[in-house]
Amino acid sequence: MTAEQRGATPAREGRNMLGHFLGLMGKTVFTALVLAFFVIPVLWLVFAPFDAHPSLNVKLPEFTFNNFKVLLANPNAIGSLGNSLILALGSMVLVLVLGSLASYSLSRVRIPGRDVLLYTLLLLSSIITGTAAMVPTFLLMVKLGLIDSQFGVILVLSGGILPTVIFILKDFMDSTPKSYEESARLYGARPLRILWDVVIPLARPGLATIAVWAVVQVWGNFLVPYILLRSPSKSPAAVVMYTFYTEGGQPNLALISAFSLLFSVPVIAMYFFVNRRYGFRFHGGIKS
């Protein structure tokens, strides 16, 4: 009995080690694949703009700044980044102002069916800026005379973002203790004053999150400006990038890669700036 047991033990150990090894291998390979999936596009974004002959493959570049020179010569490229900035910042300001006011009042005033309203808005918001409602939205903008107007684009994009913004901000507003406001009220502060002096400063991490999110949403949006804007001089970067073709009708990878890099830099820079300054938080909560 004992001899048999002794004989069996090393074999079982060997099997265990093999299983462990295979498991580890599997995990590593899986992680590497997932990592590659996300990293390779980023590597392309960093390498291709400096490559004399960019292709869709990731490879070490034959180093050149020529792609950027060509890009600067393009009449619409740099201006379109400015247009993106106008659309993004315009929507951000509109969304922050309207979102704070709406979420504060929804947080403080009891309306029957408030939660249903919020959830319905959230559900519909994805449709407003989506493909499904594009025809009615287009017709509406035609009637309003807001075709080929950056303001029109800002309105439509903000409309799509607002429900989510209100939903998130309401949580921040809810978590501000009522006694802060009552205290300010007793000293004669009016509601707008209280919002500005007390509630907004406390909801600042939430507002920062919302601001970044709104900018990113608008910055990357292609469909709405593509449909509502006509003049190339008003188009944002996401739309202009679509026009970068060679004479042969092939995508001009030299231009596209260089432009993509410039296109992503502002968003990344803003992320680091806001994270440093305010920190991101997705829910409210005041320590008292």
Partner: protein, 359 residues
């Protein structure tokens, strides 16, 4: 500086619950006034209705010679200190203190001067640049008081001002609060569920229960001459003994014993009437041998209070216990037979409705 008068004030919540029920109270100019009662008695609702944070259902409120019933909170010239102090966490102490002046559009320079001035009075020098989160509970409370002072109100309203402080600090803050109120001479209403706090601080106390006023009087009146059994049992650090009995031959029969009729009720209680005999544990004494007019019983619990001992005595032939505070030197063994003696001028008689008989 002003008096406060409420006239048949009612605050009814949706669903018909009355937080404040037909309140008629006059709080005199410069008075330190306590609203006392158990939680849910409507004392905070009354305070918030005076402040204007709750809208009254009917009745009226006057502050000084102004009718304020329908005024906005900001127009009533009242300052309130909240239980959680409600200091703005994102503002410095100086900005917190001078916030009322900011609303009044006072210049930055004057606000700073005022914050230093008021902060100095409440010993907050050197803390003005800090944030509320960096201060201790006691300091935070003084900042809340300073903010109230800087708005120069007619009336101060304090909601449970001492409840967020630990026991030792509370005593210190209590003395500080009383001195501050005396110095400023501003009419002050404060809410508390702690009877000791009310007795120690207030010039007059309103005892409330279920939105209704039970008794209004000086701490001495409320303590010595409670209007009913509720006030009698609520006020006092050890609740008053309230024993069921019957009037017989000019005495009160309680179980197997009979005690003399309280002086205040002499000639007012009819033969055979069911009554409640009330005596504070502090006013009772025990004897180890039988005495006329004493309650016979045996000791069941003995609790040391430091300078005194609280005895619980089970009465012979009666299902209620009686508590007695005796000197620290008297520590009878459990089960010892004792006779509880009382003084007729220190005891009270209540009728079957719970109302005090006599004055």
């Amino acid at each position: 500086m002003a008096s406060i008068t409420t006239n048949s004030l009612v605050k009814e919540y949706p669903g018909g619950v009355r937080g404040v029920d037909e309140m008629d109270v006059t709080i005199n100019d410069g008075e330190f006034f306590a609203l006392l009662g158990p939680s849910g008695c409507g004392k905070t609702t009354l305070l918030r209705t005076i402040a204007g944070l709750e809208k009254s259902t009917s009745g009226s409120i006057r502050i000084g010679d102004r009718e304020v019933t329908n005024l906005e909170p900001g127009q009533r010239r009242v300052a309130m200190v909240f239980q959680d102090y409600a200091l703005f966490p994102h503002m410095s102490i100086a900005d917190n203190i001078s916030y009322p002046l900011k609303i009044q559009k006072v210049s930055k320079q004057e606000r700073r001067t005022s914050a230093e001035d008021v902060g100095g009075k409440l010993s907050l020098q050197g803390l003005l640049e800090r944030r509320p989160g960096q201060l201790s509970g006691g300091q935070q409370q003084r900042v809340a008081l300073a903010r109230a002072v800087s708005s120069r109100p007619d009336v101060f309203l304090f909601d449970e001002p001492l409840s967020n402080l630990d026991a030792r600090l509370r005593l210190e803050a209590r003395t500080f609060l009383k001195k501050l109120q005396l110095d400023l001479g501003v009419t002050t209403v404060f809410v508390t569920h702690d009877q000791a706090e009310a007795l120690a601080l207030a010039d007059r106390i309103a005892v409330m229960r279920s939105g209704k006023l039970q008794q209004l009087g000086t701490p001495r009146e409320v303590f010595q001459r409670p209007a009913n059994t509720f006030v009698a049992s609520f006020v006092g650090s050890t609740p008053m003994n309230l024993l069921e009995g019957t009037v017989r031959d000019g005495q009160v029969q309680i179980g197997n014993s009979a005690v003399p009729l309280p002086q205040s009720a002499a000639g007012l209680a009819g033969e055979g009437q069911t009554v409640t005999w009330g005596a504070r544990p502090e006013y009772l004494d025990v004897a180890t041998s039988t005495k006329a007019g004493s309650l016979a019983g045996s000791v069941t619990v003995s609790e040391n209070l430091g300078a005194a001992v609280l005895l619980t005595v089970q009465l012979d032939g009666h299902d209620q216990d009686v508590q007695v505070v005796v000197g620290e030197d008297f520590e009878p063994a459990i089960g010892t037979s004792v006779w509880v003696t009382s003084e007729p001028r220190r005891t009270l008689l209540f009728d079957s409705e719970g109302l005090r008989i006599g004055d």
